[in-house]
């Protein structure tokens, strides 16, 4: 091995990636070449010192603070279009209903006026997606679904009130709600979120009919609560 060949293999040697035979050849050359010996010694020392340069530990609490700030940064943008509600809960909560498939972008604010009813047939259960868009995390929130007489949730026959506790994450929380029509009529489903004694509800018109539901009809629509 000559000096040029050693230089070409220096990185592999420093990183311990040279095979035994090549390493032996390189070290044999080092034994007889002072210039290369100095080069390798200095390079090894640089590598060692680079690894020794310390990094201070992350400041306690920084990770969670930074994550919260990042989420809040975007939540504050969203909050812009639901401003004007008096209570903190109202200001931080938007419940929107999207029938059928979710829209790819639900950042746009819900339109004003009365939403068209969700059409459900007697024959086929249909999933409607409740979108709880909250600005900040809501731990142990109680979600309630009050079902009208003309629909039921498959698996809960005859049960008109379904309630449970959950935690809502900042941003969109999608709750797919399967619904099955049991008699022809028009009515309304009420979805509520309750936290710390404050309750907000959304009334969702439901129409049980055999006419074909158009999942895109009237979308996007939603409700502030």
């Amino acid at each position: 091995m000559n000096c040029k060949q050693l230089l070409n293999q220096l990185d592999d040697y420093l990183d311990g990636n040279l095979s035994g035979e090549k390493r032996d050849q390189l070290e044999l050359h080092l034994g007889g070449c002072e210039d290369c010996r100095i080069l390798v010694t200095e390079a090894q020392e640089i590598q060692q010192v680079l690894r020794e340069i310390p990094v201070p530990p992350m400041r306690p609490g920084f990770a969670s603070q930074a994550i919260k700030r990042a989420i809040d940064h975007h939540s504050n943008h969203r909050r812009g279009f639901i401003a004007g509600f008096s209570s903190a809960l109202a200001a931080s909560l938007l419940v929107a209903l999207f029938a059928g498939k979710l829209l790819p972008d639900m950042e746009s604010p819900p339109g004003p006026g009365v939403s068209p009813p969700v059409v459900i047939s007697l024959q086929h259960p249909r999933t409607v997606n409740l979108v709880f868009d909250v600005a900040t995390a809501m731990e142990n929130a109680t979600i309630s679904i009050e079902l009208p007489e003309n629909v039921e949730v498959p698996g809960f026959p005859g049960q008109q009130l379904i309630s449970w506790k959950t935690s809502l994450q900042p941003g969109r929380n999608i709750l797919p709600l399967p619904l099955k029509g049991i008699m022809h009529s028009s009515s309304a489903l009420v979805a509520s979120v309750e936290l710390d004694g404050r309750k907000k509800s959304i009334r969702i018109p439901i129409e049980v009919s055999d006419k074909k539901a158009d999942p895109q009809a009237g979308l996007p629509f939603g409700h502030h609560v």
Partner: protein, 184 residues
């Protein structure tokens, strides 16, 4: 309860916090290495998180998240460097090294303190991509296989760049930035 579809993660997956928290310490180390001081490192991490929040659906689909995050951090760092047209460590290295040196006299510090400072000075004179490569490979011990994923650069190219980066670093030190004997 059959209505488990209402689980908070159902349909949305893990939260942003759950996704990134396990990787924060490693990301911070990289950010600190890139920027040289705590304030700039925290600023870089904060910027990264703000950019990532709207991409949560994308994050949820990534199988190996850390390399993906490290790549995003690297690109952000390079972008900031190019936009600012300044060396990102112009703000200077903080005094953490001196602080550490005083804590444990049995450690290599302060015997090597001068050498470390000289190395940091030399590192600042590398171009940013060379410096990032030295940071990730030689200081944070990422393997070339890992860096191939993080940087989207073939291993052969990485080896060539690493070779040139190290040679330049040695040259800068040789030009009088440092006397290695000082460390002995």
């Amino acid at each position: 309860m059959k209505i488990g579809i209402f689980s908070r993660h159902r349909g949305t997956g893990p939260s942003f916090e759950e996704l990134v928290t396990p990787h924060m310490e490693r990301l911070y180390r990289l950010a600190y290495r890139y920027s040289g001081n705590q304030a700039d490192a925290e600023d870089l991490i904060q910027d990264l998180l703000i950019k990532l929040v709207p991409r949560i659906d994308e994050l949820r689909k990534v199988e190996q998240l850390y390399p993906w995050l490290a790549k995003a951090l690297y690109r952000l760092h390079i972008d900031r460097f190019r936009k600012s047209s300044r060396n990102p460590v112009d703000g200077g290295y903080d005094d953490y090294i001196e602080h550490t040196a005083g804590e444990d006299p049995d450690e290599l510090f302060p015997a090597r303190l001068g050498l470390i400072r000289d190395l940091q000075t030399a590192l600042q004179q590398l171009d940013e991509e060379q410096r990032a490569l030295i940071v990730m490979h030689d200081m944070e011990s990422y393997t070339l296989v890992e860096l191939e994923k993080i940087l989207d650069i073939p291993i052969g190219t990485l080896k060539s760049r690493l070779h040139r980066s190290r040679a330049k670093l040695r040259k800068l030190l040789k030009e009088g930035t440092v006397s290695l004997q000082r460390a002995c």
